[in-house]
């Protein structure tokens, strides 16, 4: 097993994450259509949270505004895939270059991501210069602006009314493929020279500057890449829903994705992937509970889970470590040692930091 880890080398983390996610995706349809839909939403959430991680996790600057890129991706993707006849009936005043555009789903994913990335680039020009806390809040302001534009640009978005007629091209397979591509893409970035410089600046901004890291530039790159990834996830989500409003890309999803990242752990890609998985399980259980308690349990439960992680395990359930063969092995060994005396009653799937390699 150790030898396998060595030969897989640096790529073992995304490969192991792929195995986990693929297994869930294969098993989900056995639980019926509802379970399959839950799996699709979970996979889209993974893409969103990994996108958020590629900025917030790697730079250490929390963002309250990244879901604006999700909305931009969703509306862009929808507007260029709704069939022409339906579109002219739905949005008669659409500018002609959009009114006559009809692209296939894969192209729409790229265009939606591209438009979101472009907006992220424009946003980054002033915003990336700000100090960390100011940047978090400035990005929140961007979210508010995006929401208001979507809510009031009636000729293009139908404003607060639902945009419908969007082709529902997102199958379980599509969601799985996108989530995996996003994971490999962001892992590649994390391990690139840009990602390393950005992580150095996260650990200590002054020391990073002292070794020549242009922190503003690295954060700008991260903002554009994360805008692309989240824009892509937005397109895919829109094509899952088929019908949506600006509220689908506002505060609820902002809180949800931040909670998922915090629960999983902001400092590793593994955390950004296991967060959405654990929250999917938690949400399922809480929704069943809601049939007894009435509505609200789901949100309260999620908020409490985030609070508990912040208080008892501030680096998240991943502890900031990546999933590797040796971390799995030490987990198994620890589990065996623990079982005879005390049954494993603690939080699920804790990944311990491997010290030996």
């Amino acid at each position: 097993m150790q030898r396998l880890g060595t030969s897989l080398g640096k790529i073992q983390t995304p490969v192991l994450l792929t195995i986990v996610i693929a297994a869930i995706s294969l098993l989900a349809p056995l639980g019926g259509l509802a379970m399959e839909n839950r799996a699709i939403v979970m996979l889209i959430n993974i893409a969103l949270v990994v996108g958020l991680y590629s900025f917030a996790g790697l730079s250490g600057v929390l963002s309250f505004g990244h879901m604006s890129f999700m909305g931009i991706g969703a509306y862009t993707g929808a507007l260029i895939t709704i069939p022409l006849t339906a579109k002219s009936a739905l949005l008669p005043e659409l500018p002609s270059f959009i009114a006559h555009a009809e692209f296939s789903f894969p192209i729409a994913i790229l265009i939606g991501g591209g438009v979101a990335a472009f907006v992220a680039l424009v946003v980054s020009l002033p915003v990336a210069r700000l100090p960390a806390l100011a940047m978090s809040l400035a990005l929140f302001a961007v979210l508010v602006i995006a929401y208001q534009v979507e809510s009031n640009w009636n000729s293009v978005t139908r404003g607060r009314q639902a945009l419908f007629g969007v082709p529902t091209g997102t199958t379980l397979g599509v969601a799985l493929a996108v989530a995996l591509l996003v994971i490999f893409f962001v892992y590649g970035y994390q391990e690139s020279r840009f990602g390393l410089r950005l992580r150095a600046s996260r650990e200590n901004e002054l020391a990073a500057a002292a070794i020549g890291v242009d922190v503003v530039r690295e954060r700008r790159i991260a903002l554009v890449l994360s805008g692309f990834v989240i824009g892509v996830a937005g397109v895919v989500y829109a094509q899952y829903l088929g019908v949506f409003t600006p509220n689908d890309f506002y505060l609820d999803v902002t809180f949800l994705t931040i909670a998922m990242l915090v629960i999983g752990g902001t400092r590793s890609l593994t955390g950004a992937v296991i967060g959405p998985i654990l929250v999917a399980v938690l949400t399922y259980l809480l929704q069943r509970g809601e049939t007894v308690t009435g509505p609200g349990l789901q949100q309260i439960g999620l908020a409490l889970a985030m609070l508990a992680v912040l208080i008892f395990r501030p680096s998240g359930l991943s502890l900031g470590a990546e999933l590797t063969i040796s971390s799995l092995r030490s987990l198994v060994v620890r589990g065996r040692r623990r079982t005879p005396s005390a049954p494993a009653s603690s939080a699920p799937a804790q990944l311990e930091v491997p010290d030996e390699n």
């Binding site: 390393l196 990073a208 500057a209 070794i211 242009d214």
Partner: protein, 253 residues
């Protein structure tokens, strides 16, 4: 400072009349300083003399209120720290500032990226720096798991990996025991020749300073009160009044 220049030794790092004032406090008040390649310059003085503030203004972490900093012919006054580092002026900090959650190798690699465009080349360079400092055995440890002595060495390694022409070290031996300090001193002494660079060192331990430095500049209340060879400084009555005397008394008690 009418010392003759050695034309072969390349550009110098020169501060002229540098002042840094904070809301009426004159932390640095008109200091001239020249750092040459191939030398170790000691910067000493009592606490609050303005040593760290001067280093901050030489490395882009503080914009001087007045005065200028030149790197060779180039005016680098107020240039951002990251750009100065890429031009070869790099520093360490008084308090440890490693990248805690990165490995030792990644710490050094991030610095090696300053002169190497790809991660593959940066790894090779970082590995050789760790070998030179005899730190290869801790390459895969995370920085936060290191002992104090190891951290200080890794910080120096990170600095070296940027390929600096001028290195400014702010109390590199602070908190080290005598053996560790001696080892570090020997290493620092070898750097000007090995890397063809100039080293400025702030240090309170006069034993280290006297052993290491070609020249010593003494600051007090933001001004230069003496500049010369270790022997001259040791004999200077102004210096022993302001600084050395009190230190020796402290050490004796």
């Amino acid at each position: 400072m009418g010392v003759e220049r050695d034309p072969g030794s390349g550009p110098e790092l020169v501060a002229a009349g540098v002042c840094v004032h904070f809301e009426g406090v004159k932390a640095v008040d008109g200091v001239d300083l020249t750092l040459r390649r191939g030398e170790v310059l000691g910067l000493v003085g009592p606490n609050g003399a303005g040593k760290t503030t001067l280093v901050n203004s030489l490395t882009g972490f503080e914009t001087p209120t007045a005065g200028s900093v030149h790197l060779g012919d180039r005016d680098v006054t107020g240039m951002p720290a990251a750009r100065l580092a890429r031009l070869g002026v790099a520093r360490t900090f008084q308090s440890g500032r490693l990248f805690d959650h990165l490995t030792v190798l990644e710490n050094v690699e991030a610095a090696a990226l300053t002169g190497h465009r790809t991660r593959r080349r940066a790894v090779v360079h970082a590995t050789s720096v760790l070998e030179m400092l005899e730190l290869s055995h801790i390459a895969s440890r995370r920085a936060r798991e290191l002992s104090h002595g190891e951290s200080r060495n890794v910080e120096l390694g990170r600095l070296i990996a940027t390929g600096p022409t001028f290195m400014l070290l702010d109390e590199p031996a602070a908190g080290l025991n005598e053996a560790e300090s001696d080892q570090l001193t020997a290493l620092i002494a070898s750097l000007p020749e090995r890397l063809d660079c100039g080293v400025l060192i702030i240090e309170h331990d006069m034993r280290v300073i006297m052993r290491l430095c070609h020249r010593i500049q003494v600051l007090d209340h933001g001004k230069t009160i003496a500049l010369g060879t270790p022997e001259a400084i040791r004999a200077d009555p102004v210096v022993s009044e302001a600084y050395l005397g009190s230190v020796e008394r402290d050490a004796a008690s």
